[in-house]
């Protein structure tokens, strides 16, 4: 896996901070991503908005490229514009353990940034993707100067809109069936297309091995889960293309256990 750094961004931001330049008419065009909605509500002074815009970088990464690496010191805040990024760390057995999937408009790298500690995870591009980068000193400066921005930023982080909330990441002890079904649900919410007849079609952005990695499982186990779901008629797989005739029924696998264990089997 090759590597591209965002060093230019940091240097540029330092420069801008030192100069104290002011660009009255610049709009934060490049700052899309998850921060966008925040930004709009924050009454940035013109020069700060310009600074933010000027010190922001966008880079492209190929599949397999590393965006940052476990142990690196934090250079700033990352935001995925398109594609899928996987955050992993090396566990006690030196195996890659998935922590979180990051998709369009999700942030990453913030823990390290605010903890002032090295990255605890590596970020690998699971697909080709665009990544937006905000230099550390700029983000921290704005957070200090705009309590509203600070509050919004941390609210977003605490809520963690990303794919992390998914059960398949939080509960590796659940059977693979459930974790995989939950994975499909998350994928469908982000990439699903209605088929009109109540069914949904999803083009999975990643391949089996990566799905396995995300589920903390083996590719073979994923394959078995797939054949099982197909045998039950809950989904039809054609490569990375998944057709789900009745999403509700499929997702009942995920929530169904809850109801069944709580109040007996419901039909």
């Amino acid at each position: 896996m090759s590597r591209k750094d965002f060093n230019g961004a940091s240097a540029g931001a330092d420069y801008a901070l030192r100069r104290g330049q002011s660009h009255p008419t610049v709009k934060c065009a490049r700052i899309g991503c998850g921060l966008q909605s925040c930004m709009r509500e924050v009454p940035f002074r013109t020069e700060d908005a310009a600074l933010l815009d000027r010190s922001t970088l966008v880079r492209n990464f190929e599949r397999g490229e590393e965006i940052f690496s476990e142990g690196d010191s934090s250079a700033g805040l990352y935001c995925v514009r398109s594609g899928v990024v996987l955050l992993t760390y090396k566990d006690a057995l030196r195996a890659d353990k998935a922590v979180r999937m990051v998709g369009p408009s999700d942030l990453m790298g913030y823990r390290s940034l605010f903890a002032e500690e090295p990255h605890g995870t590596s970020a690998e591009a699971l697909t080709a993707c665009h990544v937006c980068f905000f230099a550390k000193n700029v983000i921290l400066r704005l957070a200090d100067n705009y309590p509203v921005f600070s509050r919004m930023l941390f609210r977003e982080l605490a809520r963690d809109k990303g794919l992390r909330r998914a059960r398949f990441m939080r509960e590796p002890h659940l059977p693979i069936r459930i974790r995989f079904a939950d994975f499909l649900r998350v994928m469908e919410q982000r990439y699903g297309v209605d088929e009109g007849d109540g069914g949904v079609c999803v083009q999975l952005p990643i391949m089996r091995r990566q799905i396995a990695s995300v589920l903390s499982a083996r590719p073979e186990s994923v394959a078995r889960a797939i054949t099982e779901l197909e045998r039950e008629g809950l989904a039809v797989f054609d490569g990375r293309r998944v057709s789900i005739p009745d999403p509700g029924e499929l997702y009942r696998i995920v929530d169904g256990g809850t109801v069944a264990a709580d109040s007996g089997t419901l039909t």
Copy 2:
């Protein structure tokens, strides 16, 4: 499990905020816990320090009592002064899943506070404990008014000094042996007493069932791990009292896998 609320604190803080009272000479005596070191470095105005002090509550909880519950809205920030608290949530099968152990000077309840969302976990006292409470509006107000405080607070949260970093919580897929050994290491760091001969003695604050809960395992499995460690002479158990003759050797179980998997077996 019974329940005590901190409602008094919120109300008191509201009152203090409305009145805008000023107590020039009051020191933040009650604000110990993990925030203490932060507080000292923050140049609070006297009235704000007094407000913080006045709106802070300390409560005692018995073993098994619930401090807050999954689904409750956030009332503020909690800090454990003594004892052990376990944060859990109901997983898809309605089983309690441990998220984090919270010990003396650790914070809890902050995610919910900053996300402005209901608590995602329940906090149960594993032992009798003292818990310190800071009302929501006070914390948020101070965070807005003192960027330094805000930054420090979030740095602490991001670093999460608590017991969460432990492998036994983060890596439930590792063998119970390793998770339990890591658990012992964490317990020893916090509760261990040197025995002079290089050995360490730990009085575990919690019982087997709770250990199992923390490890995402069954009490029987914990018992088996214990007998195994005793058979190998790595530790001697007498109820909740553990004697570890050579900590280094025990903890090699935790890190040993790393080395072995990386560069072959070392002797």
